[in-house]
């Protein structure tokens, strides 16, 4: 509820923020081509801490605007992408990174898909003999043919 009120507050207040966001993009024009590309990929890769699932690039929240400005400032200061991401991680933790770090608590996240692929392959591998056997279902085995012949003979 509390957070709900906070979010409502942000929505109500977002209009002035929107203008400022445009200013930041105007600032981004001042970056050279390579920096601009990095700026855009960084703000796309960082999640707005106020919003649940919007990147810094897509959010009008005040904190997103401030963090975009921070990314911009650090780019101009000659910081590397890794340094900028580390700066954000130190302050906002795992939440801010759309690409989570590889560590114990994210192990399942990273290896889960591979694990499921492994399980699928295992199941498939175990099913193959069964599938092969099924293809012969239309034909009777020698035993079955003998029994069928016997039954037919009896019926006559």
């Amino acid at each position: 509820m509390v957070a709900g009120v906070m979010v409502t507050g942000v929505i109500l207040l977002k209009t002035p923020g929107a203008d400022a966001a445009i200013d930041v993009y105007a600032e981004a024009q001042a970056l050279d081509g390579e920096q601009k590309a990095r700026y855009e990929s960084l703000i796309d890769e960082l999640r707005c801490p106020q919003c649940l699932n919007i990147s810094l690039a897509g959010s009008d929240a005040m904190i997103a605007r401030d963090l975009r400005r921070e990314v911009h400032r650090m780019l101009l200061a000659g910081k590397s992408d890794a340094e900028i991401l580390e700066f954000m991680y130190q302050r906002y933790g795992d939440f801010i990174l759309y690409r989570p770090r590889f560590k114990l608590s994210t192990l399942l996240l990273w290896l889960g898909p591979l694990m499921f692929l492994g399980i699928a392959l295992l199941v498939l591998w175990r099913m193959i003999p069964g599938l092969r056997a099924q293809t012969d279902h239309t034909r009777l085995s020698r035993d079955q043919q003998t029994r069928l012949d016997a039954l037919l003979k009896k019926a006559e």
Binding site: V2, M6, G9, Q50, L52, M62, I63, Y89, R91, Y92
Partner: protein
């Protein structure tokens, strides 16, 4: 030939039927842990047990003074991030005033992304619970603190280390159930450390 009695086949069949159930139960446990009944808006703070960040910012009411983190060192203190544009800051204000009057803990304010004149007028209108407020009009200290909205309240220990963070308004309930126990724990710990040192000496 391998003869399978109906009974054995039945057992094998039931076992097979159990697989989806087991998978389902595991999935439920996994999702229950992932989607715990907590507010997804509340981010775990990356700054707990880290030193309060360095800063040099102007005092809101006495612009000639520059404040630094040195001010928070020496005793357990509360640091509250507030702004005039923040409706919840008004909601928590009576409780902050009460804390500043009745509780033996200094309360400092960070005026976040705000207009200084408006902030001064706001404090005059609603009363000032803070020992002092600092002007963070660019939000740089707030970013160093991992703040993503207002209000937020930090408990800083006597060594200047952040020990607790509360996002959202400080209500009497939040004070009683969350903040006061942390302050008391920190004081008890400081006391026992001090007496240990005395004993060692």
């Amino acid at each position: 030939m391998n003869v399978v009695t109906p009974n054995k086949a039945g057992v094998r069949l039931t076992k097979r039927l159990l697989i989806p159930l087991v998978v389902f139960v595991l999935l439920v446990i996994f999702l229950a842990l992932g989607f715990r009944l907590k507010d997804a808006h509340l981010l775990p703070s990356a700054l707990i047990n880290k030193p309060f960040p360095e800063f040099a910012l102007a005092d809101l009411l006495r612009a000639d003074l520059t404040r630094s983190r040195q001010a928070f060192i020496g005793r357990v203190s509360l640091v509250n991030v507030w702004a005039t544009w923040c409706p919840n800051c008004l909601i928590e204000h009576p409780e902050l005033l009460r804390i500043s009057r009745e509780e033996q803990v200094p309360l400092y304010g960070i005026n976040y992304n705000d207009d200084a004149d408006k902030a001064v007028a706001w404090l005059q209108r609603h009363q000032d619970p803070y020992v002092f407020s600092i002007v963070d009009d660019a939000g740089s200290l707030a970013i160093d603190l991992g703040v993503y909205g207002a209000p937020e309240t930090f408990v800083v220990d006597a060594a200047g280390v952040i020990r607790f963070r509360h996002v959202g308004p400080v209500t009497p309930l939040v004070w009683r159930q969350q903040i006061r126990p942390v302050i008391e724990l920190l004081r008890r710990r400081a006391e026992s450390d001090a007496s240990n040192k005395k004993n060692d000496a």
